[in-house]
Symmetry: none
Subunit: 206 residues, 4 copies
DNA sequence: GATGAATGAGTGTTCATTCAT
DNA sequence: GATGAATGAACACTCATTCAT
């Protein structure tokens, strides 16, 4: 976490540093990202960065947290909306739509979270701190779905949450690889396909 | 691919080199893996490694191929078994069990294949050579399941194959993260849970 | 070109680095010159050199430019002196004398420029930036000599400029190879011999 | 010089080795030439090459000598033809024509000699052994020209020989740089231009 | 005499972090 | 607190030469 020195920085300088860091981490996976380029883009001395953050990882963690907070903000309301009211399927769709919206509004933050997911070295270390928050949202949805009798109660909630998360990333991969070839509409139908499978898969079995 | 010099090496030396490489690539994603550490662990001069392999990537590819061959060996027979005879579910379970067995017998090789899947930079380059073989196996299973009337014909086969692949990786992650905490039995039930969801999800809808 | 970091270096350190580079490039053609040896002679860490110069070629170019600037400084005034006033022969002699003086005052810088001229690989690349300036001086002298009716107008100016340049290098070679065996006087007579041939060779033919 | 082992080699093998060496040294300046590539092209083991030649330089020297012998063979007869009969100018033109013919018939050997001339590191060392032979031919021509009363007796023969040599190289450079843009005819007129200057320059002064 | 694997010092270059000013 | 120069270990890769078989 940043030092108090950082918090007391003039707003615009603080923002410049964050922007530079976000840009760099979005363009390069953690290990390939360069502290040198960050300070250059931010227009601050190298020594200063190390007065604000303990080291590269500390800065990375901070940027990541920012992204997560944004993402949660987008998903806000989803947690509160009762599943009874909207059903798991439509809640989940809203959740995915939120992610999609976030990716469109803040593509760089989104890319960082993504690259983290792919760096095996870091994920174990960093994700231990954040991921639960991410999985938790899905787990809660599942729990409410179960309570509402919509979802099979026998499922292993943490496992299924994880499976769902991985599927959303796989979907994002597919989209990225063929980026451009998807219209907004076809994207939605892609999500719908996945949701249909999911809904079928975990729906209450008679 | 290794030079003939490598093939003619005394068995134990060749094995020492491969072990060192597998260890290194299992511990560090490709870009973080160090040729220096590999030769150090293997106890050979740097120059020698470059007499055996063209470069770092060549060595990586070789190790990867070894892993793939192993994996395919474990999965041998699955492609030929007709889905009509065994059903998609049981074929898929056999497939997963093969992967599980492989992961237990050669955890490091398994980890390497895994880390490749997560390195977006490399995947496009290296996977062009290998991966299709991976997805293809699943796609064929799905196609046979559809032909047998077992699976919903409306599904997007490549997409679903990809989703399934991602779920198996998520599962493997879960296992690796809590390695030790799973008995053989509980592992199987983990897979069964995923399979049940899957089976439900893509089964023919009436 | 060096970074500002280099420019701000304490005079003696900057000079130590330049001396080491000049020595190295004088002793070894560009490709054989070693960055390692340079930093060792200069007594600085390798990383520092790369904070001052982008790469080996950048350093080389800088050293070369230094030599060229020196050389041009020695030759200053020659361009402006009208051939009509002094005649081609005496202008050319002054030009050669300037080169000679430079070679004696800064023999290593002189050797570098020389070795560049002989490295076909580099010359095309580097010389594109510098050399024309070299040939141009001679071409202008020739043109003025022609205008003054002193020199045969039918000559191929660029070719003759090149031939003259090559003769000056050959002369310098001869001097370097038997360095020490020439007194100031005998050197001058060497140049005079060449000039006499040249003067005869390109003088207006009746 | 090669060992007796090399001399006793079957003709075709010896030739293969020489061809490979000539190719390599023609394509790359001495220091950039690779022993590895030579043995590869020749299809012999590395160890063998070192049984035939003491080291890389020994092989280089041998190849160079071969080239020189060829060149002298082309120029044979020129030494014997009396200048009185043909005059310096036409002898020199024949000499240049011989060089041109050699360059066309054995471009690779010619390229090697050329690259040597440009490698400051080597020239001093290697040329000390060969060059005199090269200059000698020109010196003899000059001496005969002087004896015949055609050439100014006051000239410094070794120096002028050297200047002439350097001019031929400069000419060759010009040709190489604009290679293709010269027809056989325009080449000859280029040489003639140089010869005219030379003839004027060193002709007997009254 | 033939072989080709072994060697290891060498190459240019990068970069997170430290620390004196 | 701000600065930016200093650092040096690390990186992937090369290659002429040697030497055991």
């Amino acid at each position: 976490m940043p030092t108090s020195t950082f918090d007391n920085l003039p707003e615009d300088k603080r923002q410049r540093i964050l922007d530079a860091a976000v840009d760099e981490f979005a363009d390069h996976a953690y290990h390939r990202a360069s502290v040198g380029r960050i300070v250059q883009r931010a227009g601050i001395p190298k020594g200063s960065l190390y007065q604000y953050f303990a080291d590269k990882k500390d800065l990375y963690r901070y940027v990541l947290q920012l992204g997560l907070e944004q993402k949660l903000a987008y998903a806000a309301g989803l947690r509160d909306g009762s599943v009874a009211d909207r059903g798991f399927l439509s809640t989940m769709r809203a959740f995915l739509a939120a992610g999609l919206q976030m990716a469109r509004d803040h593509p760089r933050l989104s890319a960082i979270a993504d690259s983290l997911m792919r760096d095996g070295d870091l994920r174990a270390e960093i994700l231990g701190e954040f991921a639960p928050q991410g999985y938790r949202v899905i787990e809660e949805m599942l729990e409410r779905g179960i309570a509402a009798g919509e979802i099979e109660p026998a499922i292993d909630v943490p496992l299924v949450a994880r499976l769902i998360m991985s599927m959303t990333f796989a979907l994002a991969d597919q989209v990225r690889e063929r980026s451009g070839s998807y219209t907004d509409e076809s994207l939605v139908s892609l999500y719908d396909e996945m949701l249909a499978i999911l809904a079928h898969g975990i729906s209450r079995r008679d």
